[in-house]
Amino acid sequence: MNDTLALTAKSANIKKLKTTRSYVIPYLIWCFIFIAIPALILIFLAFSNYDFSLNQEVTITFKNWTYVFGSEYARVVFWPAIGRSFLISFIVTIGCLLLGYPVAYLMHTIKPKYRAIIMALLVLPLWSNQVLKIVSWRTIFAILDLNSREFYEFNIVIAMISMYLPFMILPIYTVLAKIDEKVIEASYDLGCTKIQSFIKVTLPLSLGGIVSGIIMTFLPSLTTFEVSDVISNYTIVLLGNLIYNRFKGTGGFNVGSVFSIIAIAFTIVGFVTVMRVDKEGETLI
């Protein structure tokens, strides 16, 4: 009797799996078309001279790579742009972390009623157009008489912090909200002071949110082109501008692909790091 029941349950289970599992097939096809195919084209473009023109003799070459990393162009444009991008993204990320963690912590400790208000305050600016917000930052800097060459880097950092700060606060808050209050209480019972408890318990437990937040602010600031274009009046070149300028100009897809592969390499490092601390991707939304 029990055996038959188990069998029925098993076959029912198989039936269930068969039907809803098949929903994944179109998803895989979709991902193949929009992730795998372009990735292959990208690699092909980076290692060839193909530029989408007809009747072209295609040769496999490392020319694009030597151009990006080892030519006069590399010395004058590429390496300075990479250095500048990293410096700016680094400062932006640190700034977001220093401002974002206390705000996330405040949200965690405050009354639920006020927490909801802060949450709404953080989400609402996403409804204001991002390009218009950057343009408005330029207006602000013009009003403050900061709209000149020597302040451009500083202005870019401020505008980026303003744009990416919510993406630091929200993942940290998500993780803080999951910490069991009893663990904190236990640390007090074991003789921790408030600061000790924070450093030894709360901070390590919120590390996943910090890592997600860092990646979610660092990657966009590393690859944005509109902030630097608008704020610096098209004078400051970052990694994002390198990619975008290739796409805008004609015949720049091969070198553009090399830049994209560099950006993807950073993305993969970031992605692997986030997935190590957050397998379900809960801190991503």
Binding site: T19, P38, F52, V131, K133, V135, W137, A263, G270, G281
Partner: protein, 291 residues
């Protein structure tokens, strides 16, 4: 706990700085939408304290007769373009939200029915576009569409922009629906089948109603991401199609942004504010009822 918070001045100060940074451009947009001048000259006026307040930018969005609004004739063409941009934005956003919500929900249900190990791999695949910077996603999609153009003759425009918006929205829907799926009884589907539901109606009548909040969250994400998208649209739109963001960008490159777009932005922001406020009130009410 409360007393400690009141005394924590540095924390409050940081909060104020953070909010000031986030809201400074939003406030500037609000002010600009009510001022009479066109562009950079406004700055001088703000400094001198002469602000000519006007509603004409708001009016310009709702009329095609600009004669009463005292807008220079050379800008009228731009305002008409903006209206096309707004229409394009809404067409893309509404369709991409609908399609990505449906597809994302079905994909999430599919992913959920696998064992934990395979599910982790599928979620890894799902999360890739979320972490990937817009410029990378945009460039990769552009490459696919160049290929499509070569093979099928599909020109870049509304269709390619819609496809790319669906592409970057689906992962957010999947991420929003997944926690809801984790919470429902794993036997929901079987129970519905036993009670005589067909395979498909077991999903539509039993699973979907129980994960509805997750689906709504996902749809909200899809809508928010799509209506504001700039970079990916920029890469995939070709030369003729534009949405509000890419239109602002190209206007700026020409050196002039008609103020009507500030008015549009304030309207959208206000609607979002009302929606958030009303849904907050509702959920507060629910919490009170539960208590």
């Amino acid at each position: 706990m409360k007393k400690k918070l009141l005394l924590n001045i540095p924390q409050i100060l940081i909060f104020i700085i953070a909010m000031a940074l986030i809201y400074a451009p939003v406030i500037v947009i609000f002010i600009m939408s009510f001022t009479n001048t066109y562009n950079i000259s406004t700055i001088g006026l703000i400094k001198d304290g002469h602000l000519n307040l006007t509603f004409k930018w708001y009016q310009s969005l709702f009329t095609s007769d600009y004669s009463a609004l005292n807008i220079a004739s050379k800008y009228i063409e731009n305002i008409n373009q903006l209206k096309t941009a707004i229409l394009n934005t809404f067409m893309v956003t509404i369709f991409s939200t609908l399609i990505s919500t449906i597809l994302g929900t079905l994909f999430a249900i599919g992913i959920h029915s696998f064992s934990k190990k395979i599910r982790t791999y599928l979620m890894l695949l799902n999360n890739m576009p979320v972490v990937s910077p817009d410029i990378v996603t945009g460039f990769l999609l552009l490459l696919v569409f160049v290929l499509f153009e070569t093979i099928f003759g599909l020109r870049r425009g509304f269709t390619t922009v819609l496809l790319s918006h669906i592409f970057f929205s689906i992962p957010y829907v999947v991420l929003s629906v997944m926690p809801a799926l984790n919470q429902i009884d794993p036997n929901t589907y079987d129970a519905a089948r036993d009670l005589g539901c067909s395979r498909f109606s077991a999903v539509t009548k039993a699973i979907i109603p129980s994960i509805l909040t997750g689906i709504i969250t996902g749809a909200t994400f899809a809508f928010t991401m799509s209506i504001d998208d700039f970079v990916i649209t920029m890469f995939t739109s070709g030369t003729e199609f534009y949405n509000v963001s890419t239109w602002i960008d190209s206007s700026m490159r020409r050196g002039f942004i008609p103020k009507s777009v500030y008015a549009y932005n304030v309207i959208i922001f206000s609607i979002a504010m009302i929606v958030v406020f009303v849904s907050r009130l509702k959920s507060n009410k629910k919490i009170k009822e539960l208590n």
